[in-house]
Symmetry: D3
């Protein structure tokens, strides 16, 4: 059961990934009083801001400013207050020891039960694949007390869940965990509408939420599920009973 003892860390490669791919689930966790920490690694200024660059005289600083406003507005609809933007360059995003230590430190501070980030394959988006490995590796290092970082203490191994990539099948994505987001779907719609320049994605992820809702009903026999989000999981489920 989600409650105030639940720690969720969300790591998004670009500005809006967390909205399209996990916004409903994030809204739900906040609504049920979980501690949600959101890290956005880049503004997506190079790779995911096509429309902004079509404006004459556009500058990198201006693109970042606009994207920051969109991010903050969308996060606001979800009620996320713990938000960091790390401003890495995107397309391509690369990682070194310093960035790894920063992520390990973040995980050790948040002590997340669950980490929601990109899955290992995304057919059209090399950044997403790189972030997936980066976050996973950091989660492993965070548990090892030989990885000495001043002022931190080891975390328990977090469970990682992967966003559904844009083109699921050719990215070898399997929907292993389908989360019902019916009760918060309105918030997801509002958040998606913060990114008006990407109307085609608003339509797309609206349709997707309905399709996953259909799958949720079919797999479970529960007719009340209307909207859902799908995720992959990095590890087996471990627990006391079938779920």
């Amino acid at each position: 059961m989600i409650d105030h003892n639940t720690n969720l860390l969300v790591v998004s490669a670009h500005a809006a990934d967390f909205v399209w791919r996990g916004g409903g689930t994030i809204a739900k966790y906040v609504k049920h009083n979980a501690n949600v920490s959101l890290v956005i690694l880049s503004y997506g200024a190079r790779g995911e801001s096509n429309d902004l660059w079509n404006i004459d005289g556009q500058t990198l600083e201006n693109v970042k400013r606009i994207r920051r406003e969109e991010i903050e507005k969308a996060a606001g609809y979800f009620g996320v207050t713990n938000l960091e933007i790390w401003d890495f360059e995107d397309y391509h995003m690369s990682f070194d020891k310093e960035r790894m230590d920063r992520m390990v430190t973040k995980i050790r501070e948040v002590k997340p039960h669950h980490i929601l980030t990109h899955g290992p394959r995304d057919a059209f988006n090399p950044d997403h694949e790189a972030v997936s490995k980066f976050v996973f590796d950091a989660s492993v290092l965070s548990t090892s007390n030989g990885v000495r970082i001043e002022g931190t203490q080891t975390a328990k191994q977090a469970q990682l869940f992967g966003f559904e990539p844009h083109q699921s099948e050719i990215s070898d994505f399997k929907p292993e965990v389908i989360i019902d987001i019916t009760e918060v779907y309105e918030q997801k719609e509002q958040a998606m509408n913060c990114f008006k320049a990407q109307q085609h994605l608003i339509d797309y992820y609206g349709s997707k939420a309905k399709l996953r809702g259909n799958h949720a009903r079919r797999c479970s026999g529960n007719k009340e599920y209307k909207y859902a989000e799908a995720f992959s999981r990095f590890f087996p489920y471990v627990g006391g009973e079938f779920v």
Copy 2:
């Protein structure tokens, strides 16, 4: 949470499959007051009674009698009272419309939330593969009200979970669900000991329970798991939160 509203149907191809591969989980469900129904499709007289056939003058009837005693004793240790043995011929087991109707009827009567049976691949055991498809197909038919069987009403789609096959990797088995059986492990040991003629399997599945306990600890960070059983799942998890 497992309680008296939980319906679990277990379908075992041969006499002892349910003990080696799911005994701890069955014991746990009974202990927590679930309604557990156990269907054993065959005595395993042809394929899994090698030691008995080494006795001079052995007969099929006698083999079945001995195996029935072992099954009943093992089920007793788990506290399973709802037990049926369908006495199909094994090695090879085959299925026709009548047998399909019988399984559909059983599912419609039990209305299981979860069905525990063999997974789709078992590298050394063609019967297990045939049973997996048989039970899955029956679960689909059980939900369709055009499949008219006198005196039955459709069931909701049950969630199916697959036993770990004997040689997991070459059977393409992935441990998707790992169930902690620490609190009932003693019962599993007692039940396994009902099949004394198969001492090598008692050792084998004892070691396996410890290995899966190690994996349970490593995946979850929970140090209290000592013994576990692993299963595959046929459908995605659907629910309200990450598990």
Copy 3:
């Protein structure tokens, strides 16, 4: 290029499969003067007529009558005139030598360049998997002149394409061929509306067509694609250039 020399054979397991999964493509082939032959193997009376069976006093004959009307109306919207319903029992559908000979004969008569039918895996629908193998095997037999059937002559090996199953990822479906259906999408909508009792599927496949349209644009860079259908292919593409 599709024209009056193009022979397309469509084989649908149940009444409406050809509409949800391939209706736009069928409409397009008819519109461009191809010879489209449609074989519907069953009315789906047992497995895909849930709503009809909820009516008191329903009979098998009446279900079949209603479904036949729906099929004929839908086929009419596509302009398909060459339509056969073979009235096999569904859920489960099974095949013997006589049925195999009938399909081989059909293929030898139609001499299709392309056969559109179910793909090899469909996670929730055993009938679809059985039909896929049945049609594929028949296509192989149809080319062999040792398979002697009175009054028939061997066909060239047809190219087979597989419908997208309802839950694509867990059915291991990959969209290998995405067909733009923008110009005929209205016809597909009309045909889908012939199956009013399945409103949730009309919504579902409407959303799906938009999603596949998005993928078509993203993979090709062609902005004019609005609606599309996805298919798997059974054989490699062979030809004179990259496509």
Copy 4:
């Protein structure tokens, strides 16, 4: 149809890869008036010039000189005039931001409809795998107008096709696209003979072309195909009809 509006970019890791693995297809595109641009990333001096290094007193400069002559002669047989050799070190080849920008720039200049390069897996050749990712990533970056490179304009997403690796099965290669090269096979033979020091490869790829020709006939029923080359594809086919 291939014509003077068709832009094909070929990227070859080492000196002769483009000949063994795609020479027939390249010859065909040139013959039908396509604009073919060929980029050869390295001379293969370290990894694919074994015979040359067996000569006493051999030097790196001399190896490169010989290989350049072979490349130019082979390209000549295909009629390729737009040829660049980037002279990267091979075994191992590595890539940085500058090299990425150079490839993005090249793609933006050529605006290829199709890119032919190495596929993602090559069991015995780490360079080929690295080049595959390098070219694919560059093709994605080339479409994004946030990736600002002086003097360039974004390209549409090119379709990528992968060479058949030397040992196809253990490299997880599937022949998704088989191109008939019968009409230009003589040119491929001449080009292969430019690399006389590798006689075993001339034999090997001669046999391979015949085998793929056999597959082309069997898959299509077209008896006129004698020689063929096989490729993987990175994206689904998108278009107006089955091919």
Copy 5:
């Protein structure tokens, strides 16, 4: 080491499969004094005798007669004397309890260390897939002493090896075992030439033997391998050292 204590059972679905796909290996086992038993399940009269049926007035009996002569001549070149033709109908081949008992009996008589037969997938040949499962299942039943067949005694589990299918990659074939056939290649050529009506296959499998020879050299570093045949394996290798 192959010697007179080595028992090899070869099971071929149709007349010539054992020649194209395993002839060199069979010849080698005979040459080194192994006991080779060959079972040919069908004459391939319906599915693999196209050319014979093109002759006016052809009859089934005559086709079988010609194929029997070819089989016997080819087996003669290998020195195989223990040969049975079971004359099952092909295209499609099907199996019942009686046929299963017959194969179990054969295995119990031969007590093979190795069984060479078709692998589990063959993209264009449903018979080959059915035979693969039939032989594998029989090998499992042969070891179980509850499978009572008058006059037989259980065998140890044989190791199964799978022929390379005609189109290896799309049949998911991996060359796990590559056998050098250089010393007996001439015999394989002679045997292949017994099937003159299939000249395209003689060329094809000649080229294939050279390709696999190249792979054998590349994987092992042994330059003396000129011709080879590739096989899949059904079980892991078990032994005392790396091989």
Copy 6:
């Protein structure tokens, strides 16, 4: 047959990997007079020394000292005298040209027939995956005489075998080669006991050896196998007969 002409190179990422995952096989090769060279890339000080870091005032130097003693003691039980510890930093381990040249040089000196190292996937251990690629790439470079390293001569391509990872199934491990270690199991136990701080792993790999022994018996029918170790293989087996 293992003898004094057999060269085996073992490359272990961290201090104890070679013991848990390959100790029995190493002991066996030494016992049968093979030349065994052991390279340990790191002390595992950061990632695999958790217990040591729980001691107050622990230092990196002290951790390394303790681990070196454990390594040397364990290697002593196996009789390995040719041992190098390269002292790379672990968690994460990274590789540059200098390290690659060092490994190529080592391979050229040892001229191993077999290299035993980590397999390509290890679900919880990014270092193991990086080492697998590092060693494989070095083995390829070692065979190419264009890779000029002063004082070295090219080696023949070594056969690579991969350790079983801790959680085999979720690491996509298949036991392709199972080595009987019954005769040296006592030595493996002694060596494992050198790492007393990891008692849970001693239990774990003891159970694992018994399970793999069971699989060895089941796959081969040889009842004398009691303990075994499983490995993956990087290349197909090439040789003169089925093994």
